[in-house]
């Protein structure tokens, strides 16, 4: 009797200690993405977004300190991403998962989030299906379908009738192609030719000559970042494709900052659909870019925006739960959350936990001697159309 009472008291004391310690204990967030290898630069930009948000908003939320545990998945490595996500939860005691730059990695880690019931913020990976793999996941980047289906419909509304499509021959490229075709054909447009170029293609002349010879009034291109956008932009100019007669359209990567620098004036007139650019005109974004420049000596990009807004979701959700970190409470707090981001108004879809945001249609123009993406049209509150079509 006496012994069991002592045991009970000890347990009670331990529980009490745990509860009181709970208030001061830091919230550990496992940030899993590529800090090295081919995708090190996007990883660095996501991380910059995270750092800037924490600098501006302090590192304490609802009385608890935020502690990041960074893990390097080193590129396309779903097995590594999964293992690191497990480790960071089991060994390091992380209560939230964040980061995830690449689709295969995010898909693999989604299982971990679902089984461990941990809140997961996907800050970049853009394949539609990812968020369906864990009921505890939200996304703060974009989906390929969201941007490109909107672009397809926009193209038809703006007088384009016959399009030739040229996409990179791998998953996201196929998604971009399917999304644009869907948006454009549903509106009434006609795809008069299509080609997929090899992932490691270097010289684009032949592909663009063929596109030009098909006589379209629009050419759609899906290209990942890296060296190809500049090569494509230059080849378009060199082929003598007249952009006033043939609209060249693509996802924002086609005209990202470095690509435009390499393209020079060859980039003028390219039209892209995207959700964020440092040149976006709003007071919020001007302040964001200024702070970002001061901190990191470079401009933010879509990766930075994903990291920055991802941290916003984590902070606001923690405020709502009063510092409680169980997956159900956090994901419930994140559902339907709406706020003004540097990219404009955005929200988390309460049904799909995916991002709802404005898709901007931009044209490359010369402003003050530099080439920038000037927004000239926009489509508000775009949901991921792929999930909207999924049987409920």
């Amino acid at each position: 009797m006496h012994a069991s009472f002592t045991a009970l008291a000890t347990i009670a004391a331990a529980v009490l200690t745990a509860v009181s310690a709970h208030a001061q204990q830091p919230v550990k967030i496992g940030v899993v993405m590529s800090f090295s290898g081919q995708f090190a630069d996007p990883g660095a930009q996501i991380d910059n977004g995270i750092k800037l948000y924490m600098k501006q908003n302090g590192d304490t939320v609802a009385g608890r300190k935020i502690e990041l545990i960074r893990k390097d998945s080193g590129g396309v490595a779903p097995d590594v991403a999964k293992r690191l996500s497990q480790e960071v939860i089991v060994r390091d005691g992380a209560e939230i998962l964040a980061g995830y730059d690449l689709t295969p990695n995010a898909l693999a880690a989604a299982d971990v989030s679902a089984q461990a019931k941990k809140f997961m913020v996907n800050m970049n990976a853009a394949t539609s299906v990812i968020t369906t793999k864990s009921p505890y996941m939200v996304r703060t980047s974009f989906t390929v379908f969201q941007l490109n289906e909107a672009l397809g419909a926009w193209a038809y509304r703006n007088g384009v009738r016959k399009v030739y499509t040229l996409v990179s021959d791998f998953g996201p490229g196929h998604d971009g192609e399917a999304a644009f075709h869907k948006g454009f054909k549903d509106a009434g447009g006609e795809i008069i030719g299509q080609a997929r170029y090899p992932v490691a293609n270097l010289d684009f002349t032949a592909f663009l000559q063929r596109a030009k010879d098909a006589n379209p009034d629009g050419i759609y291109i899906w290209v990942p970042g890296g060296p190809q956008p500049a090569a494509i932009g230059k080849a378009i100019a060199e082929r003598g494709i007249d952009k006033s007669k043939v609209k060249i359209m693509g996802q924002g990567e086609l005209t990202y900052e470095d690509a435009l620098k390499s393209m020079g004036d060859a980039g003028l007139g390219l039209i892209t659909a995207f959700h964020y650019d440092y040149y976006h005109q709003s007071a919020k974004n001007k302040a964001f870019v200024q702070a970002y420049n001061a901190e990191f000596k470079r401009n933010p990009d879509m990766f930075s925006a994903g990291g920055y807004d991802g941290m916003h979701v984590i902070y606001e959700a923690l405020k709502k739960t009063g510092g409680k970190t169980d997956g159900d409470a956090l994901v419930a707090a994140a559902k339907g959350m709406a706020w003004e981001s540097p990219r404009g108004m955005m929200s988390i879809d309460p049904e799909t936990r995916d991002v709802i945001q404005t898709v901007y249609i931009r044209r490359v123009e010369k402003v003050g001697g530099a080439l920038v993406n000037v927004e000239f049209d926009k489509i508000d509150n775009v949901k991921d159309p792929w999930k909207a079509r999924m049987p409920k």
Partner: protein
């Protein structure tokens, strides 16, 4: 139909000339010393970065940077050759591969360290940009320039190897190294100069390639496959062979992508397999 065929021939030829500049040096050094230098494209990358640095940081005009791209790659290659490569001349092919592919990885990491993994911008002077139309065929000005440069290099190489004393020594060393040594030819010296020349040409090719394919740290690896294809199809040690192989591969690659975009990227490999089945030592190879 006819005009598009001419267009494809022209673009493919220009692309082939780029491959020729990048690979001719490797062909000669491989044929001469049997040294498997997988780091050849690293010298191309050095040339590219020299051009980019001179243009963007020091404001040099594009054409003026080309001789420096050549010289920098040549000097770097001699430094490598003197300190590392020469130790492995008598080693097995595997040892040579391991050393040189290791160098490729080191160079990729070094370039990423100094320049970042981003694309390096290069803005050509306006007289090299754009295109003009000749009887219905769109000809890119820069491609024309590329072809001109390559033909000059080809001519200079052929003349130097066929009609100079140094050229005779090099040919003798390629044909029969032991006999050449026995006759008192300084094979090592000839090799060092040839090696520098070949790497310098790769540097020139790297500088010229930026506008068409871009430049980032992966350059040293991305082009390796194409360069090896050109060398094996052309035949070791043959300048004419490299020229023919580069032309053939450039045109078949471009034609494949234009006429059969679904399988276009495989055509270059099909052509290679076919040619090597027909002539296992390459078009002009002797060994």
């Amino acid at each position: 139909m006819i005009t598009s065929a001419f267009g494809v021939l022209f673009d493919g030829f220009a692309y082939g000339m780029l491959l020729f500049l990048l690979s001719v040096g490797l062909s000669v050094t491989l044929g001469m010393m049997n040294f498997v230098n997988l780091a050849h494209c690293t010298f191309g990358m050095i040339g590219g970065y020299v051009t980019v640095t001179l243009m963007n940081n020091l404001g040099w005009p594009f054409l003026a940077t080309l001789p420096l791209a050549f010289a920098a790659a040549a000097i770097a290659s001699v430094a490598f050759e003197r300190t590392m490569f020469r130790r492995l001349y008598r080693a097995s092919d595997l040892d040579q591969c391991l050393l040189t592919i290791g160098l490729v990885f080191v160079s990729v990491a070094a370039a990423a360290w100094f320049y970042g993994t981003i694309q390096q911008p290069v803005n050509l002077p306006s007289y090299l940009r754009g295109s003009f139309t000749l009887v219905g065929v769109t000809l890119g000005v820069y491609r024309l320039f590329l072809i001109g440069m390559s033909l000059v290099v080809l001519l200079a190489l052929v003349l130097a190897l066929e009609y100079t004393r140094f050229g005779m020594q090099v040919r003798a060393a390629v044909d029969n190294q032991r006999m050449a040594r026995g006759l008192g030819i300084n094979v090592d010296g000839a090799f060092a100069i040839t090696f520098a020349l070949g790497s310098g040409l790769a540097g020139l090719g790297g500088a010229l390639a930026i506008d068409i394919v871009g430049l980032d740290p992966s350059f040293a690896l991305a082009y390796l496959v194409y360069v090896l294809i050109v060398v094996s199809v052309g035949g070791l040690g043959s300048i004419g062979g490299s020229f023919a192989a580069a032309t053939l591969l450039g045109i078949s690659d471009t034609a494949g992508k234009y006429y059969f975009p679904q399988i276009g990227s495989f055509l270059i490999y099909l052509v290679m397999v076919g040619l090597l089945l027909w002539r296992p030592t390459g078009l002009f190879g002797r060994r």
